[in-house]
């Protein structure tokens, strides 16, 4: 999972979100602040998967919360806020990516250590990481994003379907296709180890 937050689908949290949304509609800054605090980490996780860049992901989270606030009257009270917000994040993020494709994934380490100075285990892990990143980069953008959200961040296929506005079956198909593609690249070498 992306963090220690539990999925926000239980009744108490839904009720709290609903109350915050109703108060936000009247201009209550404290209620909106609570909503932001509760949802920004997960929104950031989604945003990062779309943008592949930390600062861009932060900017996108800001944009998405402001867009959500502007459109809060159209939000159907009593529904979970998270999927709605994530959909805004994804839509805006994909638009932004289309508009500017120049900034790409930032490297994990600012200054990678040289292989010679590292223990064998770490070198192997680094190699695995690089191979996986290359394999992921070969996937179509949307498929990569779906796979990462599903495999790494623990979003369910239903949550991803809501975010992207596509059927759940399509999400599962993308996951299946991505796994198939990756297995062709990664597993043969994995078998040799």
């Amino acid at each position: 999972m992306v963090d220690s937050e539990q999925p926000r689908d239980n009744a108490r949290e839904l009720a709290e979100d609903t109350a915050c949304i109703e108060r936000t509609k009247t201009g209550d800054a404290e209620a909106f602040g609570a909503l932001v605090a509760r949802h920004m980490r997960r929104a950031f996780a989604v945003s990062y998967r779309v943008m592949q860049h930390r600062e861009d992901a932060e900017d996108l989270v800001q944009e998405a919360f402001i867009a959500a606030l502007e459109a809060i009257d159209s939000f159907e009270s009593g529904r979970p806020f998270g999927p709605w917000l994530h959909r805004i994040v994804v839509n805006r993020g994909l638009n932004a990516r289309r508009a500017a494709k120049s900034r790409r994934a930032e490297p994990l380490d600012a200054e990678p250590a040289s292989a010679a100075s590292l223990p064998d285990e770490v070198v192997l892990l680094q190699e695995e990481h690089e191979r996986l990143q290359q394999a992921l980069a070969g996937l179509p953008d949307r498929q990569r994003m779906i796979l990462e959200l599903f495999e790494l961040d623990g979003f369910t296929s239903r949550e991803i379907a809501e975010m992207l506005g596509i059927p759940e079956g399509t999400v599962r198909w993308h996951v299946h296709q991505a796994r198939k593609t990756l297995s062709g690249i990664l597993v043969p070498r994995e078998g040799k180890e």
């Binding site: 201009g27 209550d28 800054a29 950031f44 930390r54 989270v61 990143q133 495999e151 790494l152």
Partner: protein, 135 residues
Amino acid sequence: MENPANSDLERDAGLEKWMRRGGDGVPLGTVDWSGLHGRIMERAVRALERRRGGEVYWWTFVARWAPALAPLALAACAVLAIALGMSRGAVEGALLEDAMADVRDSQGLEQLLLVDWADADLLLWATVEPEGEGR
């Protein structure tokens, strides 16, 4: 013989392990959360103030009331059209009656050739012959 379903499951489990080991996690630890929260709230101030001031955009109003107002507007148009049609018919009928009565009273009507209903103005052409002049 190997069951393809089993090999799929094994493949998926292997990939999952791979991804968790080699995949980039979301860099949650590098984000200044209170700073991000503050920036969002700073930008939200104006929108929240507008809400407190009760400022409502016209499109928000239209969007909210459109489902109720559209059928009402249609019904109102229909009633208006019917009312206008009926009153116009009544007015034109009365005008025609008046015109015919005037002609009969003054000179006598031999033959009504044409009554044009095309406009609100009633056009009436009548051939009038003096009484006693037969064909």
